[in-house]
Symmetry: C2
Subunit: 330 residues, 2 copies
């Protein structure tokens, strides 16, 4: 888009993921809600880490994953999020900058450590996330540089930001700045339980601020408290410019006014770890969108990226994404 410095700026929790394999017995024993993201405190995180198997550390965070993938595709990305100036914070900063994302939010020098999400990957590739927010609770409106928002085609916000109190204010500030500057605002609903915690405010957001909404089936059903995907579809129709709704192996639906695209999921040889599937879908979609592709192609790109992410461990791309999408971009 003309006059923009960035295609997409993401605002989100800056997290390092700790991934380990697990089985359903472990999840049950520790009363972990399979498939969900649960916020835990420092002590619970330490106890749970003590019981966790050997891990792999990879930079994560929902919006951060999306922006990292957009940059890997060749898009211009920026990220706003809070880390502590500790080893994990350095890892997070390194990884996102290494793919070319502008990330200049000041690190904390005192207080809670960099956030980590303990991610338990089941044998069926489902992931269960237990997140200690750490330094993320310090992200506030002062961290949102209006200049970056104004010079970004899209401001992308993760619903998870609604959990730390101050971040919500950062979120709303960014959305307003973007709107006033004639830019677009995109929101990912993040998690059905997160939607459950903040339903009323999310509905207001979707109605008043959001141009492009990302949600999976469970999230959009949770938002409107309905039992069927179709009922949710009828609710969301007309409430935001574009809704991109993902349905795992059933593919995705894109609805914009009277236009609808129904896309099949990409074939995946072996699903290894579903962590970051939604983040990757949003990345492919938004990259296509900022490149001026039609909505069908955007959804197709989302599906390709999601298929790549679930084929390996961790939520950041492990492949030459440019090569992967060459054909679709044409």
């Amino acid at each position: 888009m003309s006059g923009t410095q960035f295609d997409v700026v993401g605002i989100g929790n800056a997290i390092v993921d700790v991934l380990a394999r697990t089985d359903d017995h472990f999840l049950a024993q520790n009363r972990l809600s399979k498939g969900a993201m649960t916020i835990i405190d420092a002590q619970t995180a330490e106890e749970l880490y003590g019981k966790m198997g050997p891990g792999v550390e990879v930079s994560g965070g929902s919006a951060a994953n999306t922006i990292a993938s957009i940059a890997t595709l060749g898009g211009r990305g920026a990220f706003i999020g809070k880390v502590m100036d500790d080893q994990m914070g350095q890892v997070f900063r390194h990884d996102i900058r290494a793919v070319g994302v502008a990330f200049d939010t000041l690190s904390m020098v005192n207080g809670a450590p960099t956030a980590r999400s303990l991610i338990f990957v089941s044998e069926d590739a489902e992931r269960t996330m237990q997140t200690y927010l750490g330094a993320c609770i310090e992200l506030g409106p002062d961290d949102v540089d209006p200049q970056i928002i104004k010079s970004s085609h899209i401001t992308y916000l993760e619903g998870y930001l609604w959990d730390p109190q101050q971040a919500k204010e950062a979120f709303i500030k960014a959305a307003k700045v973007a709107q006033q500057a004639g830019r677009q605002v995109s929101l990912s609903l993040s998690d059905p339980f997160c939607v459950d915690r903040h339903r009323g405010e999310f509905i207001d957001l979707v109605n008043s601020h959001v141009d492009i909404l990302f949600a999976n089936e469970e999230e959009i059903k949770s938002l409107y408290q309905v039992d069927s995907f179709d009922a949710a579809l009828q609710h969301v129709k007309g409430h935001c410019e574009i809704a991109a709704l993902t349905r795992s192996s059933k593919g995705s639906i894109i609805i914009s006014g009277d236009n609808i695209h129904i896309l099949d999921a990409e074939k995946v040889e072996k699903v290894v770890d579903t962590t970051g599937a939604g983040d990757a879908y949003a990345a492919g979609f938004l990259f296509g969108y900022t490149q001026g592709k039609d909505l069908g192609a955007c959804g197709e790109l989302g599906g390709i990226l999601a298929a790549e992410i679930i084929s390996h461990y961790g939520a950041r791309p492990d492949t030459d994404l440019k090569e992967l999408v060459k054909q679709t971009l044409g």
Copy 2:
């Protein structure tokens, strides 16, 4: 073995690996010696990390990898190595304990951070390691508890320990205690350049202390400064009780007195990352050995474990190893 608390105690550098994909152009541009392990200082590590692509952090360290795999197989393992009490040190400690290894070496509270190895994985799956030793240089003879050595069937030492000065003394102390207690000493030569740095001392070690020697083709040729594998074989024969020599896709050779076993490599669908192949081989071999298997079966187990490790990113096992070796163990 009767009267032992541990099957194998390993002494080595306690390292967290930072793995990233690279290409040969990057290696050439930064004058990195492909396939080798090079020791770098803190400043070089920081500069190189700044140029490195997005990473994945996984616990590493040669002997530590071996012991972790032995424990994952169901063996009783202990590890001696030095970390700082920082986030990476906590990751290292967690990961090795999580597989059941006894690891009680005191952490440093002041000084250099936990060691990290920047591992550049090329498109052909070869790995190039640039290691900042950090807290490892503080490992000394006081960290070697004679009681653990005496109660271990095998004391396993990595050649890399010869790089930090004090660790060498820890190494020799452990070898002597083991010998005097009638236990066995095993050494991995680690790296051809490491052998080159310490050749004379390594030859003395092999002749005087080592019962089970692990080396790959380049290392054993470097040890005896010969050009052919066969020439190296003639040199090593008779100098230690058992030599297990690995030759990548050519398999491995085990020589013990007049007994020789020549084993083919396991078939691997796709070699992803060769980091830790030698460590895994030693793990399979020593596990079989401490379970009383014959040398042919030990070599076969080594090959199975090496094949597992090179099929994925990182040097720690990613699979149910017990299931993998069930048939071979009978």
